[in-house]
């Protein structure tokens, strides 16, 4: 009797959960994020320990970053507007870089591709922003948040640790000229683990606020990203497709387990509440001012 009652209770609880989820259907994405998060977390933890003992010096990191940056050198001539954009992000970026923990020669570059809605950084201080991402922005504070985020990836050794991992995986001898060619450039654009992304968000936001920007720039930008993410979610039509997508996500996500935009947004709100930044709501407009004379950018 007791057993039957217990069975009924358990069954009812499960059916209630089933009914509730059926009634409140939400667009839940099936993803390998949980597994990737755990695996990446474990992988990061396991690699972080030896990395602490085999850390590159700042000079070595700068040299490696400079060599990698040669692959991103823009071969086409920037237009006057694009040069103005680049000067703009350099002005904002330098202000942020001066408040970073490590004294590195930060440099900020524009990638003139309107389809590239991404930003990334290289070891040693190189930060790249895609023109597509700039087109999304509506305030300078959003740009400051993005640049601070990338600066903190460098500042907290995320970039150089990726070089260390790649060097170990590919058995590279970094002192050999040209060895870095074997590191695919896509891994810099792919992002980092969840912890590292959240850390870069947290510290980047702190950096932006210290430089005088509003934290709500980050909030508005992350809200926009959350909306884009919901639109981007693809639902599988079969278990096989789901499994293959999960497998692909697992393989792609070996180095990254991006936090959900909602998590990043929640963290931003939490930071604002913790530090009492609620009154810093005023955002600076995204305003690029420049002059062109005879088709040449002059200011």
């Amino acid at each position: 009797m007791k057993r039957s009652a217990a069975f009924l209770v358990v069954l009812l609880v499960a059916l209630a959960a089933l009914y509730y989820t059926q009634r409140h259907q939400r667009p839940i994405a099936v993803s390998a994020n949980a597994v990737i998060d755990m695996v990446a977390d474990a992988q990061r933890d396991l690699t972080r320990t030896p990395m602490r003992f085999t850390r590159f010096s700042d000079d070595e990191e700068i040299a490696i970053g400079n060599e990698l940056a040669q692959h991103y050198a823009v071969t086409v001539q920037l237009t006057a507007e694009e040069r103005a954009y680049e000067h703009y992000i350099q002005r904002v970026g330098f202000a942020l870089g001066q408040r970073a923990h490590r004294r590195l020669p930060y440099s900020f570059h524009l990638l003139p591709d309107s389809n590239l809605m991404n930003a990334f950084s290289l070891p040693g201080g190189h930060v790249y922003v895609g023109e597509g991402l700039l087109n999304l922005m509506t305030s300078e504070d959003q740009l400051a948040f993005i640049l601070g985020h990338e600066v903190e990836h460098i500042d907290h050794y995320h970039c150089v640790e990726r070089v260390q991992v790649q060097a170990h995986l590919k058995n590279l001898q970094l002192e050999v000229v040209g060895a870095l060619v074997q590191i695919p450039l896509q891994i810099w654009e792919a992002g980092y683990t969840k912890d590292e992304e959240l850390e870069a968000d947290r510290e980047g936001l702190r950096l932006a606020v210290l430089t005088g920007y509003s934290p709500y720039g980050a909030v508005t930008l992350l809200e926009k990203c959350a909306r884009l993410h919901e639109e981007y979610v693809i639902h599988a039509h079969s278990p096989g497709q789901e499994l293959s997508e999960l497998a692909m996500q697992s393989l792609e996500g070996y180095f990254r387990s991006h936090p959900m935009p909602s998590e990043r947004l929640a963290q931003a709100h939490q930071l604002i509440a913790q530090n009492g930044w609620q009154d810093r709501t005023a955002q600076k407009p995204f305003l690029v001012e420049y002059e062109v004379h005879n088709g040449e950018y002059v200011r």
């Binding site: 069975f7 358990v10 499960a14 959960a17 089933l18 839940i28 099936v30 390998a32 959900m260």
Partner: protein, 1436 residues
């Protein structure tokens, strides 16, 4: 600082000696105890006999005895003294009585007696109780009293050095002073188990470490820390104040040590304090002038006088204790502290004073061990001075001002210690060994330091020659020759130095020649003078010549050969000369004086000379011959050595020509003589000449090995003969390969194979048969690889198809001629070998027929067009099958089936693609597949009756293949929509027909069709989205298929055994899988896991009620799938910051279902025995806990996961403890209490669930690992503050884990009585029986690493030291041995870290603070060990 390693080595060596002493004393105590009991029994007997004895009580004991009457009176006043170590003789140096005596009950022959220096006459010791008879009767209480303790501190005399029986004159002043008292327990030695012995051994080490070594380590650290403190300049402390402070500390140590040393328990501590006090005093005196921060005496002379005075006082005072501990500590710490602060070469005078004082003590007291540390300290002290002066690279041939004084000092040290070595007279082998170590160390350190300060390297050979000659000369002194070991050491040392001097001055061939001369001189001198040392020196120097030849001259030869193939006459002659000399040594001298070279290592060394001769001979030939002739030269050496071997019966020669020269020859053939750079048949003259000649040489060598086989019974060279003949065959084969055109190579190779076969029959030689097989295989290879592009054709048929025909003919010929080949002594062969050879011949014949058939198949494949190859093959198969019926050769039947299989494969892979018309409406695919199927049916309908089992299987397989081909053909022709349904229905019909008519083939084909149906359903029907009358086609069709499958699970006819094994439930598994897939398609993503869990719950209930375990197993799979799915949907579904979210209310019900099913398995034991046997209950427990742990991982921030997991550990341990099995039967208790039993369940004991304990232990390790790698190593570099981030989180985790210890101790008590069963328990038994160990070590490890990473670098060791001391304190409080050992190891690790790291890297202030603090902690730990030594000795 440089003396720290010697101190550590000395400490280890001393610990080992003390351990041995402890064991000896324990054994002695046991003997004494036995003697005590015997004496007690004697006394009782005497007491019992006393009323009957009229004589005075002393009279019966008045027989001759060494015991004086006064001895009794000496015992009586000391009843309350603590027990002294029974292994020592207490001898007061005060003139007042009582005379030191041994304990009364000690057996006579075990009493160690020693007379101190004040015992002047030899007769006095005879007054001592060397033999103790039974005490007088009136002294009844005496045996029960503890041994006598004199009022003065006793002198501890080495038992081993004191003659026991009879007592003799006590040794002079050089009597060995023992280590501090090892208070051995007065317990009899009883037999223990092995584990107990191990515990006893570890406890003895721990006891020795804790009471004897920690105080030494502590005092060393404190003294060194004080020295650093003295050297460091402070503004607040003037030199005067600092001197006064250090003198106060010195006298405090001295006074404290002298005071404490009088108490027996703390004597070791007192000795260490005295030693440390003298060292501090000496350093302070030295610092009065030489240390800037403490300089108050400006005169070096005055300070030298003061140092001499302190050194003299140190010698005098420390010798009073006759303890190496006191003296060693004082002197070595004195060296150490002086080393820390020396500034110029005159400051080395302090070390000079110490060296002289130390040598005088060593010679006087015979403490040769101490001299080793003196040597180390002297030279390393000097080296450290040079290091500071010259830097890490040394002098680098640049002169420096104090070079000559430094050199003189070094030679002074060397000569002082060498004279000490020469004049000493060791009394036993151990002392001689110690002296040898000191002698070697002396010379090596001298040379090392001289090298470091080298200014004129061109004169190094003179120094080596002079030192070597002096060592050699010392070795020949008569006083040394009486000590064999010293003679050997000095002679070898001198010879080694003189030999080493040669390459410093000479070069080129001179070195090898000089060494060769030296080797011959030593060898001949050793043979003539019968001195083994000289002989072996000669042989070893010969080896040195070999190294020279191999490492230098051979390299030059290689370099020259890389450049050209010209004649190298000088090298050839030199190598030839060496070959002659070494072969002379090996073959002539060894035979002239055979008695010297019979045993190892002389025989081995002489054999090595033979190999060196062979090496030199090969090098000589290489230098003198070139191109193709080199291999011929090697072959000539090989033949010559083979001939010599036949004459001399020397196994080493066999190794040389067979193991080295023959492979070398073959290598040379490969590299040069084959001329592989010219592959075409070019008819090269040297290749045509050299290959046959070399083949002949190898065949002749094979012949010589054949003759040797029977002459020397201990050497079986038949294998070598085979290898040499194989080499000859290989060379002829290579000639065919290189010189015969490709299309003719099959013919030539098969002809050579036939020739080898016939030759093997004629000789007779069995190995040639194997050569035949190899060459025949090569012929086949040639046939199938000749003209691969089919460039040459005859009509449309490639010519190479005809080239294979001679091979087919040859193969059939060899198959027919294959028979047994036996040599001439075949009569001696036994029948077994004959049968073996016969079987081999049969197998070979069969293989050749298969090869012939294979070549025919290959030929058909080459000759026919692609679509008709399968047809050709099936016709050939039919022909083979029918011919088998005529000639009754069953292997043709097998070959027919093999060819049929090839035809099937060919049809499947090729013919379905030929969708072209052969005739209108008849495609090539249809025609060829039908023909092949007809052929298959033809074979299946004419089964071969040669082999019954095969005859049953063959038609079954072949008809199944035909059916499969036709089914596949239907798949090509039918639409895909209803194929699954048709196949399912067809399978059901086949199953029904099979069930009705018992046709096995149809039943299996039904199963196959069902499998295809399942495949079709999964791959096609799941994706159908059509609607039929408002119902989805997918839902309808898959429901039908699932129902049919459930029906088939009951209807399908299977063998009874298979049905018993529940193979029919494959269908129910498939049906359940389809239902699960339907759930995935019909439910939203978030609900799928819950749906699967509910489905699993229902399956489980159905299986439990109907007692069908396969349904329960399916339920477990469904629950496992639900568990897995939460990782891909549910765990990431929650909103950040919202605790009750989609994640929570979907994961928790799943965990609830899993735990409910787990609980049902545990309660309903009868119907779930299989489940428990397969450990599904444990799986479910793991899944439930895993889901909770994973939920916590995502609910909390990453930083706090470690604490959450620690809390789960606490809960799991509590659950495990709560689910304890009752120990007493409740029925009995109920009766006693008069209460009624309501339910039978009350009578049933609760199940014990160690799985939760396993999970707790595993999670403990996981939490600890995560804390280390994530919270410590993986934390942010700049943020996440220590207190809020790491100390708080990890501190809470550590606290929670420590809180688990009470649970762990209770679980240990439970499982100690009755350990849990199962594989896990058997694998990890010790861990499970002692859960408190993991729950202690995990947080301790976490805490230790936390301190290492979070404390300032200079304070890490201090933190660890405090942690270790606190652990030790707690361990003593709860009396847990492993915890105590942990604290001890941590303290020792602190010491090691200080020695290896902190001493060299820390800042000055941190360094002295670390040294003093850790030293203090270690001293306190030693005090704890001394104070609570009984807790350790309970294991002894």
């Amino acid at each position: 600082m440089l003396s720290a390693p010697p101190l550590a080595i000395y400490a280890l060596w001393r610990q080992r000696k003390l351990g041995q002493r402890l064991a000896e004393l324990t054994a002695l105590a046991a003997k004494q105890n036995d003697a005590l009991h015997r004496e007690l029994l004697d006394l009782k007997r005497q007491l019992a006999a006393l009323p009957r004895v009229a004589a005075p009580p002393a009279e019966p004991r008045a027989e001759p005895s060494a015991e004086p009457p006064l001895r009794i009176s000496a015992i009586i006043p000391q009843p309350e003294q603590p027990a002294p170590p029974p292994s020592v003789v207490l001898k007061g140096d005060a003139p007042t009585p009582p005379i030191p005596v041994t304990p009364a009950p000690v057996a006579p022959n075990t009493i160690p007696v020693s007379a101190a220096p004040n015992v002047g006459t030899p007769g006095e010791p005879q007054k001592l109780p060397a033999a103790v008879p039974a005490p007088p009767v009136e002294q009844k209480p005496a045996p029960a009293q503890p041994p006598v303790i004199p009022p003065r501190p006793p002198r501890y005399v080495d038992v081993a050095r004191v003659p026991l029986q009879p007592p003799v004159t006590p040794p002079p002043a050089a009597a060995r002073v023992a280590a501090p008292p090892q208070v051995a327990p007065l317990r009899s030695a009883t037999a223990h188990a092995t584990a107990q012995q191990r515990i006893k051994s570890v406890s003895a080490i721990e006891d020795a470490l804790g009471r004897n070594w920690l105080n030494k380590i502590g005092i060393v650290l404190i003294v060194v820390g004080i020295a650093f403190f003295g050297i460091l300049e402070f503004r607040q402390l003037t030199p005067v104040l600092k001197d006064v402070l250090l003198y106060a500390v010195s006298f405090a140590f001295l006074g404290g040590g002298i005071f404490v040393e009088k108490r027996d328990r703390y004597r070791v501590l007192g000795y260490t304090l005295i030693g440390g006090g003298w060292a501090t005093l000496y350093f302070t005196t030295y610092a009065l002038n030489h240390v800037a921060a403490m300089r108050v005496v400006p005169s070096e002379v005055l300070d030298l006088i003061l140092m001499l005075a302190v050194a003299f006082a140190m010698v005098v005072h420390t010798l009073r204790y006759r303890s190496q501990l006191v003296t060693g500590l004082a002197f070595l710490l004195g060296y150490f502290t002086v080393t820390l602060s020396q500034d110029k070469i005159y400051s080395l005078s302090a070390g000079l004073i110490l060296a002289i004082g130390l040598v005088s003590i060593v010679i006087r007291m015979g403490w040769y061990e101490l001299e080793i540390f003196g040597i180390l300290s002297s030279f390393l002290n000097h080296f450290y001075w040079l290091y500071r002066l010259l830097g890490p690279e040394g002098a680098q041939h640049q002169a420096f001002p104090d070079y000559h004084i430094s050199t003189l000092l070094l030679f002074f040290y060397w000569l002082t210690y060498r004279i000490s070595y020469v004049v000493r007279k060791p009394k036993n082998p151990f002392e001689e060994h110690i002296s040898t170590a000191a002698a070697l160390l002396n010379t090596l350190l001298l040379l090392g330091v001289l090298k470091f300060q080298s200014v004129r390297p061109d004169l190094a050979w003179i120094a080596l020659l002079v030192v070597g000659a002096m060592e050699f000369g010392f070795g020949q002194l008569p006083t040394v020759k009486r000590r064999r070991e010293a003679f050997v050491v000095l002679t070898v040392l001198g010879a080694a130095l003189m030999v080493a001097a040669v390459p410093f001055h000479y070069s080129g061939n001179d070195v090898a020649i000089l060494w060769l001369i030296g080797a011959e001189v030593f060898l001949i001198a050793g043979a003539v003078a019968s001195e083994v040392v000289f002989r072996r020196l000669g042989l070893i120097i010969g080896l040195l010549v070999a190294f020279r030849l191999a490492g230098f001259d051979f390299m030059q030869l290689m370099a020259a050969r890389r450049l050209s193939e010209n004649l190298l006459l000088d090298a050839g002659v030199m190598f030839g000369l060496c070959a002659v000399v070494f072969y002379t040594n090996a073959l002539l001298i060894g035979r002239r004086w055979p008695k010297f070279f019979q045993d190892s290592p002389d025989a081995l060394l002489l054999a090595l000379h033979s190999y060196i001769g062979g090496f030199a001979a090969v090098c000589s030939v290489w230098a003198l011959c070139s191109n193709d002739w080199t291999a011929l030269g090697f072959a000539a050496i090989m033949l010559t050595l083979a001939a010599f071997q036949r004459k001399l019966r020397n196994l080493h020669l066999v190794v040389e020509y067979a193991g080295v020269i023959a492979p070398l020859t073959m290598f040379r053939v490969f590299a040069v003589n084959l001329h592989t750079e010219i592959l075409l048949p070019a008819h090269l003259s040297m290749r045509l000449l050299s290959l046959p000649v070399l083949a002949v040489a190898f065949y002749l060598t094979a012949y010589l090995n054949d003759r040797s086989e029977n002459s020397s019974g201990d050497i079986d060279l038949s294998v070598l003969r085979g290898l040499f003949s194989a080499a000859g065959t290989f060379l002829i084969t290579a000639l065919i390969y290189f010189e015969v055109p490709a299309l003719w190579q099959p013919l030539a190779a098969i002809a050579f194979a036939v020739l080898l076969l016939e030759a093997g029959h004629r000789l007779p030689y069995r190995a040639l048969t194997w050569h035949t097989h190899s060459v025949a295989a090569l012929a086949v290879f040639f046939a199938v690889t000749a003209d691969p592009l089919a460039a040459q054709r005859w009509g449309t048929i490639p010519v190479h198809a005809f080239a294979a025909l001679p091979v087919v003919v040859g193969a059939y010929w060899i198959a027919k001629r294959m028979r047994i080949v036996l040599p001439g002594d075949a009569d001696l062969r036994n029948a077994e070998l004959r049968n073996h050879d016969s079987q081999q011949a049969q197998v070979a014949a069969i293989a050749y027929t298969w090869v012939a058939a294979g070549l025919v198949v290959w030929g058909l494949n080459e000759a026919l067009s692609a679509a008709w190859v399968a047809v050709g093959w099936i016709i050939f198969a039919v022909a083979l099958a029918h011919s088998t019926r005529w000639i009754r050769y069953r292997h043709l039947a097998w070959q027919a089936d093999a060819v049929a299989l090839l035809a099937i494969a060919r049809t499947y892979t090729y013919n379905y693609a030929f969708d072209i018309d052969f005739w209108p409406h008849i495609s090539v695919r249809l025609l060829t597949v039908v023909i092949v199927s007809a052929g298959l049916y033809s074979i299946s309908r004419k089964p071969i009756r040669l082999n019954e089992p095969y005859a049953r299987i063959s038609p079954f397989l072949i008809s199944a293949a035909g059916t499969a081909l036709l089914a596949l053909l239907a798949w090509y022709e039918s639409p895909a929509g209803w194929l699954a349904a048709v196949w399912a229905s067809f399978a059901l019909v086949l199953a029904l027909v099979d069930r009705r008519f018992k046709l096995d083939e149809l039943g299996w084909q039904a199963h196959a069709l069902a499998a295809l149906t399942m495949l079709q359903s999964v791959t096609v029907n799941l994706h159908v989205t059509d609607i039929w009358h408002g119902v989805g086609v997918r839902l309808l069709s898959l429901s039908i298929v699932a129902l049919i499958f459930y029906a088939l699970s009951y209807l399908a006819r299977l063998p009874q055994e298979w049905r018993q094994r529940e193979f029919h439930h494959i269908y129910s598994w498939a049906a359940s899988a389809l239902v699960s897939l339907l759930a995935w398609y019909e439910l939203p993503a978030l609900s799928v896991a819950v749906g699967w869990a509910v489905f699993g719950l229902l399956l489980f209930e159905f299986g439990l009620v109907r007692r069908i375990r396969q349904f329960r197993f399916q339920a477990y799979v469904a629950l496992s799938a639900a568990f897995a799915r939460i990782f891909f949907v549910n765990l990431t579904a929650g909103d950040p910051g919202n605790f009750w979210s989609d994640r929570t209310y979907t994961v928790l019900p799943i965990a609830l279902i899993i735990f409910f099913v787990y609980s049902q398995l545990e309660t309903d034991e009868k119907s779930a025995q299989d489940d428990q046997r397969l450990h599904f209950n444990e799986l479910l427990a793991c899944l439930g806990t895993g889901s909770i742990v994973a939920l916590l991982y995502f609910e909390f921030t990453h930083v706090w996961v470690v604490t959450a997991w620690a809390a789960v550990v606490f809960i799991l341990l509590g659950v495990s403890l709560w689910l304890e099995r009752p120990k007493a039967a409740p029925q009995m208790d109920s009766k006693i209490d008069g209460a009624k039993i309501d339910s039978p369940k009350m009578l049933r004991p609760k199940p014990d669930r160690p799985i939760f304990l396993y999970q707790a232990l595993l999670l403990t390790v996981g939490a600890c690992a995560r804390g280390i790698v994530h919270n410590l190593f993986g934390a942010s570099y700049f943020t996440a503050g220590n207190w809020s981030g790491r100390y708080a989180v990890l501190g809470s985790a550590v606290a929670v884990l420590f809180l688990c210890l009470p649970f762990a101790f209770r679980l240990r008590d439970r499982y100690r009585e009755k350990p849990p069963g199962g594989r896990i328990a058997s694998l990890f038994g010790p861990i499970i029986k002692h859960p408190e160990q993991i729950l202690f070590f995990a947080p301790v490890a976490l805490l230790t690493i936390l301190l290492a990473l979070q404390l300032r670098a200079g304070m890490v060791t201090v933190g660890w030291g405090i942690e270790g001391f606190l652990i030790l304190l707690g361990a003593f409080a709860i009396n847990e041995r492993s915890f105590r050992l942990t604290g001890l190891i941590l303290l020792l690790a602190c010491f090691a870290k200080i020695v290896l790291i902190d001493m060299w890297r820390l800042e000055a202030r941190d360094r002295y603070i670390t040294l003093i603090m850790v030293g203090g902690a270690i001293l306190l730990a030693s005090f704890l060990y001394t104070r609570y030594s009984e807790k350790i000795r309970q294991y002894l």
